[in-house]
């Protein structure tokens, strides 16, 4: 299966609030809150790290979840946010991350 690379869209507003990431689309004002696991994926979405590596190196390590379960959850999360244009997904590294929003 092809690798997935994910990067945060620049057309969003985001801020961490008490362990949860608030994200709002500037395009249509859709508002999301991400739980701790989703927030960790979000913060690791630098366009260069494959999603599988994020799941292995971050999610499984930090949250003690089963790898397959974590991968399924991550895929679902990425698909959903990409439908809203909140996350950009590619099978190639997204190299132009200079304009990516800062992760705060």
């Amino acid at each position: 299966m092809a690798e997935k690379y994910i990067a945060r869209s620049t057309a969003i507003a985001a801020r961490m609030l008490g362990g949860e990431m608030m994200v709002m689309s500037a395009a249509d004002s859709t508002f999301f809150t991400l739980n701790e696991v989703a927030s960790a994926i979000w913060q690791a979405a630098d366009g260069r790290t494959p999603l599988s590596e994020i799941v292995d190196g971050k999610i499984c390590q930090e949250f003690e979840v089963d790898r397959e379960q974590a991968q399924r959850g991550a895929d679902r999360f990425v698909n959903e946010l990409s439908e809203y244009g909140i996350l950009l997904v590619s099978d190639q590294p997204l190299t132009d991350t200079s304009s990516s929003p800062e992760s705060r």
Partner: protein, 380 residues
């Protein structure tokens, strides 16, 4: 509870500022008759200072950032400020009169991902709008700007401040908003000037017209529900606080002064001398604002409207006591429901306790004339 309301509640529980209103200038190209600001530049923060403040606000957890003024585009570095704010991932709302927005500026705002633009429109008729802004041609320029912004797909809201002089044009502004395809919001609140001058208050719409506003389903939705008598307040109401000022929101002036809200001129610190978070966490003034609960309000705690009133602590502060009533909101509650506020009843009682005729003896006053002089045939 909506997701946004949940986040607000969470910010409140964590003691975090989730919203900041930052005026980047008080300079303006309009001279609106009701404006509360002094438009001279008394030493605005530099670009570097504002950038530094934005970074501090981001670190403090601020999500919603309103950039306003004055007219924001009077600053040559306006787009630089917005760009930095967006790099820091704020949800940015810009308040402007739109006069200086052309196709290029609209495109830049879109490119930067500004979430919303709020534009003041006072009337659909140039002669009325321009008489308020004192800038000939301003309505046409503002409408042109709205079209440029809409063409970029930006979310625009027309803010219609209601005064005695433009009240009758309110349906025309609603129709204009509809024609332009933008949202409409109205505000009947005219505040005293920040220097304490209350002359602008005379521009407020009278109570009877306020009642018309509150009975207009197009503006308030379900009139019966909106104008319903207030329910008896429970313990949760008495333990509650009036608004987000100082709790999850605050205001920063172009000079770096921090206040609980733009309508609450209680100086609480200055970001030129202190770190924002130090002010937010340790300011004596903000702590005092946060400590006030509905049950602590000497008059309002016994008011039937205590749970539903839009009482503004900032307006109350400008009337002399942040724990006191805000008479403009007393009037709103009364016009909305027909039930007088505790403050109104108190004033009536105080008036009725005064003698209708005061008699002053002039015996031994050394003055010629009648021995009895009747003063104040009717006392207020």
């Amino acid at each position: 509870m909506s997701l946004l309301a949940e986040m607000n509640q969470k910010a409140l529980n964590l003691g975090l500022p989730i919203s900041v209103h930052l005026d980047i200038t008080y300079r303006c190209n309009e001279r609106c008759v009701h404006c509360y600001l002094d438009h001279d530049d008394h030493g605005e923060m530099t670009t570097a200072e504002i950038t530094n403040v934005l970074e501090q606000l981001s670190d403090a957890g601020v999500f919603f950032l309103s950039l306003s003024g004055g007219e924001v585009l009077m600053r040559r570095d306006f787009f630089e400020i917005v760009e930095r704010a967006r790099q820091l991932l704020f949800n940015v709302k810009v308040k402007t009169n739109g006069v200086m927005i052309h196709a290029k500026e609209a495109a830049r705002l879109r490119q930067l991902g500004v979430e919303q633009i709020q534009i003041s429109v006072y009337s659909h008729r140039p002669e009325v709008h321009d008489a308020i802004t004192k800038l000939p041609g301003s309505l046409n320029k503002t409408i042109r700007a709205i079209r440029f912004l809409k063409a970029q797909g930006l979310k625009v809201t027309i803010a219609n401040v209601l005064m005695a002089g433009n009240f009758s044009d309110q349906p025309g502004v609603i129709a204009l908003a509809r024609e332009l395809g933008v949202a409409y919001t109205l505000d009947p609140t005219i505040t005293p000037k920040m220097d304490g001058d209350t002359s602008t208050v005379a521009l407020r719409i009278p109570g009877s017209e306020l009642k018309q506003v509150f009975n207009n389903p197009e503006l308030v939705g379900n009139v019966e529900e909106f104008c319903a008598p207030p329910p008896a307040p429970g313990e949760d109401i008495m333990d509650g606080f009036p608004c987000s000022a100082g709790h999850t929101a605050c205001y920063i002036s172009p000079y770096g002064d921090v206040f609980p809200c733009v309508q609450f001129p209680l100086p609480s610190g200055n970001v030129r001398r202190q770190k924002f978070l130090d002010i937010w966490r340790h300011s004596t003034q903000l702590k005092e604002v946060r400590s006030i609960r509905a049950r602590d309000l000497p008059t309002c705690s016994s008011c039937a409207h205590v749970g539903t009133c839009t009482r503004c602590p900032g307006l109350a502060y400008m009337e002399g006591n942040m724990r006191g009533p805000s008479t403009a909101d007393c009037e709103k509650s009364f016009q909305r429901t027909g039930i007088p506020s505790a403050n109104m009843l108190k004033r009536t009682r105080e008036g009725s306790m005064s003698p209708l005729i005061q008699i002053q003896s002039l015996v031994n006053s050394g003055q010629d004339g009648p021995l009895l002089v009747e003063e104040n045939l009717l006392t207020a």
